[in-house]
Amino acid sequence: MNDMRLTEKSVEANDTKISARGVQVYYGDTHAIKDVDVDIADQTVTAFIGPSGCGKSTFLRCLNRMNDTIDVCRVEGNIKLDGDDIYDKRVDPVQLRAKVGMVFQKPNPFPKSIYDNVAYGPRIHGLTRSKAELDEVVEKSLRRAALWNEVKDRLQAPGTGLSGGQQQRLCIARAVATSPEVLLMDEPCSALDPIATAQVEELIDELRSRFAVIIVTHSMQQAARVSQRTAFFHLGNLVEFGETGQIFTNPSDPRTESYITGRIG
């Protein structure tokens, strides 16, 4: 309980890691994100909640420019990482994505061995100097994703042969192994059982000591458990953004209240 109070204090002390101003996203003619302003604090877990199709994933993908890969998608507005505009012409999206890692809504392990899946990021970014070091990174990442015990005897087996929940944890391990500064997680627990969910939540809590974590979730309990701040999206608008405790106990917008209590969604 003491810890709780400590973290709550630290929230205010943390610097802003990402700041977004006036973000608009269009898919062709569809206006998916409407004028969103958000500040993501460093070393904090921020939860994005909202009904299906409200634009949570879309906004998340703006933060590491994954939307660049969609032809019809157009992003306007201003998003800064550590004070630098990430949509500036001089920014290399590849480097940006190494800093802002992502776990996708659907597990997407590569058709490679479990080991190679986790080692993928460290290898392409040259993060390790020796095989032993790489082994160590792989093991540590798998342990943090609560997968190590299940796969330690078959690291050379294909990652696609794992169960859905195991695949999702593999993808988390893969993202963690690249040591990003910000980790974007799009419903990382939607395919997991309660035990694995608890382990991933523990991981998120641990990651917070070093990264800024943004998690999209449909579970109010999860948002309340793991996050310090919560943003509520509705139909492409950011309706409310503030400290998790306040959003869940005392929302200022009626839409937030009805969503949290289960009346819209």
Partner: protein, 486 residues
């Protein structure tokens, strides 16, 4: 009655069967079609199938057997004296058929009527000039026996034709009546027509399989003949290919096999990298618009007849390679060479590799790309480390398809690499391949029953075994990768 009209009649009976079958089923149900075991459409379908399919099968079988039967009967009328010096009974029979067709024409044009024709005799009338008037040319003078045989041929042909028409229509009507009578509310028309369709599918796939067996069997039989005339040991182990018209030939397969492999290897060495890289460009880098223009443009290459490629090899690539590469490097002075045929064949194969690989790369799920980009990988890292491994089984398939095309190619080799069988490493030397030699041995003017001709079948057999082996390896590779990645 002509064949087309007969077909139309069967179709009409079947269509009537469909309509009447449905109607009868509806009547049998007493107005409430839910009482029927099957929907009325299935009742109609079963009547239609039973009317049309047996009749069509009979028709096909009859058309296949009729010429054989007639020729058997007519052949008896030809005396040994009617066969000219150096000719054969078969040639005379084809004369008979020609004359019969000619007489049909004469009658059709009204120059003669049937009774005149019956009275006409070859020793009194000049049949040959009569036929020439209607545009049918007959090589030699027509002997009375041949003329009588032709008349008999015509008579039998009409007779059999009438019999066929009657039999086929009878079968169609019988099927129609029987299946229509069977319709009751309990009749399981759905299961019956499903079963019928299933049998049809099985029969169709049997046709394909049996044809393959037929091809192999005919190759095998002639190959056995060849090996009775020529020792297998020499064929498989001799390093020289030197067929002679008067026997005593050396028919070793190695120079040809070497040529085949060498030309195919050069072609693939060129086509695989180029095709694969253009596939990667098209699927990963090119904009949608560019892709929609470039892909068909590349596929046009696949539509060019190989003889045109052959011309290109002969007049452009061959001399170019000779003047700028072979001669300056002192590697020979022949414009037909392995290199010429290989390069041109490689160009021909590009669309096979690129178009298929492009489709396969496109089928790799976007989520894998996203996963890789999300970890900060560049486009080329993503292609090399994620997309190509995921697409590998399909790409291997595409390459092997190209390889079997290369091995079977004939025209480009004839015009690009020449026809000289040689075992050589120099790629600027003229060489030749198995397929080219199959053609030249079969079309040569040696006797059919000589080893020089029959060797074509043994060569064909080897080619078949070779590509079969290639396909088996391909299947094995593809399955192995699939196990690993699925």
């Amino acid at each position: 009655m002509t064949f087309g009209v007969l077909l139309l009649i069967i179709v009409a009976i079947a269509a009537a069967g469909y309509v009447l079958g449905r109607q009868r089923a509806r009547n049998a149900s007493g107005g409430d079609t839910r009482r029927l075991h099957s929907l009325t459409g299935y009742h109609g379908q079963s009547v239609m199938l039973f009317s049309a399919v047996p009749a069509l099968l009979l028709l096909g079988l009859w058309l296949l057997l009729q010429p054989m039967l007639i020729e058997n009967r007519v052949a008896g009328m030809i005396q040994p004296g009617d066969i000219p010096e150096g000719g054969s009974a078969e040639l005379v029979m084809s004369d008979v058929r020609r004359v019969a067709d000619g007489l049909d024409l004469v009658v059709a044009q009204g120059a003669l009527n049937e009774s005149d024709l019956a009275a006409m005799r070859a020793d009194l009338t000049n049949v040959r000039s009569r036929l020439a008037e209607v545009g049918v040319a007959v090589g030699s003078e027509i002997s009375p026996n041949v003329f009588q045989a032709a008349k008999e041929y015509r008579r039998l042909d009409t007779r059999f034709g009438t019999a066929m028409t009657i039999a086929v229509i009878a079968v169609a009507l019988a099927g129609f009546a029987l299946s229509l009578r069977r319709i009751t509310p309990e009749y399981r028309a759905r299961n019956v027509s499903e079963g019928f369709v299933l049998t049809l599918f099985i029969a169709s796939s049997l046709v394909a399989i049996l044809t393959t067996f037929g091809i192999v069997a005919s190759l095998l039989v002639e190959s056995v003949h060849f090996f009775q005339l020529y020792p297998a040991k020499d064929f498989f182990l001799s390093l020289t290919w030197n067929p002679q018209f008067r026997g005593g030939s050396d028919l070793g397969i190695w120079p040809l096999l070497w040529g085949t492999l060498y030309v195919s290897f050069v072609a693939l060495l060129f086509a695989v990298p180029v095709g694969l890289m253009s596939a990667i460009y098209l699927s990963e880098y090119a904009s949608k618009r560019l892709r929609s223009l470039a892909k068909p443009a590349i596929e046009i290459l696949a539509g060019i007849p190989t003889i045109v490629y052959g011309l290109f090899a002969l007049v452009t690539v061959g001399p170019f390679l000779r003047d700028y590469f072979a001669q300056p490097m002192g590697l020979g002075s022949s414009s037909s060479s392995v290199m010429t045929a290989g390069l041109v064949m490689g160009i021909m194969l590009i669309p096979f590799v690129s178009s298929l690989s492009d489709d396969i790369i496109n089928a790799v799920p976007q989520s894998l790309r996203d996963g890789s980009y999300g970890l900060g990988a560049t486009q080329s890292e993503t292609v090399r480390q994620v997309i190509l491994p995921a697409a590998l089984p399909g790409i291997v398939g595409a390459i092997l398809l190209a390889a079997s095309r290369a091995i079977g190619e004939t025209m480009i080799v004839v015009m690009g690499a020449g026809a000289a069988a040689k075992l050589d490493i120099n790629p600027f030397e003229a060489m030749t391949t198995i397929t080219v030699k199959i053609v030249s041995q079969l079309t040569g003017d040696t006797e059919f029953a000589s080893p020089e001709t029959l060797v074509a079948f043994a060569l064909g057999m080897c080619l078949f075994v070779f590509t079969l082996g290639l396909n088996i390896v391909a299947l094995y590779v593809v399955r192995k990768y699939r196990e690993q990645y699925e």
